[in-house]
């Protein structure tokens, strides 16, 4: 399985593994050779920024208190 080098450490998968919805992101970003570099989590990490646990690969911040997600940077 090529793609993102950080998959085994990414908290996204440890937290949301039950519903399997995290795996959708895996298919869309992590497993794709060049696409994973556009993942917001990967980008934050290699730019020396903190990676919030609720940052989705498409740059949105997951908010559990209300429906939907906010946009970020």
């Amino acid at each position: 399985m090529a793609g993102c080098t950080r998959q085994s450490d990414c908290p996204l998968f440890e937290r949301f593994i039950v519903s399997g919805s995290a795996n959708i992101w895996r298919l869309l970003y992590c497993d794709k050779d060049e696409k994973f570099k556009t993942c917001a989590r990967y980008e934050a990490g290699v730019n020396g920024r903190t990676v919030p646990v609720n940052l989705l690969p498409n740059g949105q911040l997951l908010r559990s208190m209300r429906m939907g997600a906010d946009d970020v940077c």
Partner: protein
């Protein structure tokens, strides 16, 4: 949240105490170790690695082994070289200047300030030029 803060205080204090009692905060001792004139602290460190790995094995047997994942990446060697040089110059891995401050050695303030500046400079270099995957998003 309070419980976490207490635990951070306890582990930090214990580590500071341990490092001071072994002698890692003493430049004289460190110099003797790095020039192989006195291997006491080296034996302590190697012994710690052995005991640590035994501990991890035991934890694995009861299914509670914490995950430690550190692959080789672009910054592994150069980062290590720069750190090692800094260690020989200032006498500290990142923990030491704080331990020294606790012991009363005021010049360690300068070392600590240097560390902060070094961190800031690296993060700037990362953003502007490198974008290396250094594994720093590990929580």
């Amino acid at each position: 949240m309070a419980g976490t803060i207490v635990r951070m205080m306890v582990v930090g204090t214990w580590l500071g105490f341990t490092l001071s009692q072994i002698g890692f905060s003493d430049y004289d001792q460190l110099h003797l170790m790095f020039t192989f004139q006195d291997l006491r602290m080296l034996f302590a460190f190697v012994g710690a690695v052995v005991i640590g790995s035994m501990g991890f094995c035991l934890l694995a047997k009861i299914g509670r082994r914490p995950k430690v994942h550190r692959p080789i990446h672009k910054g592994t060697i150069l980062g290590g070289v720069l750190f090692g040089a800094g260690w020989a110059l200032s006498g500290g891995c990142p923990a030491i200047p704080l331990v020294q401050l606790g012991e009363g050695t005021l010049p360690a303030l300068v070392t600590a300030a240097g560390i902060v500046i070094g961190v800031v400079v690296f993060q700037w270099v990362q953003r502007r030029y490198l974008n290396w995957d250094t594994g720093s998003c590990l929580r």
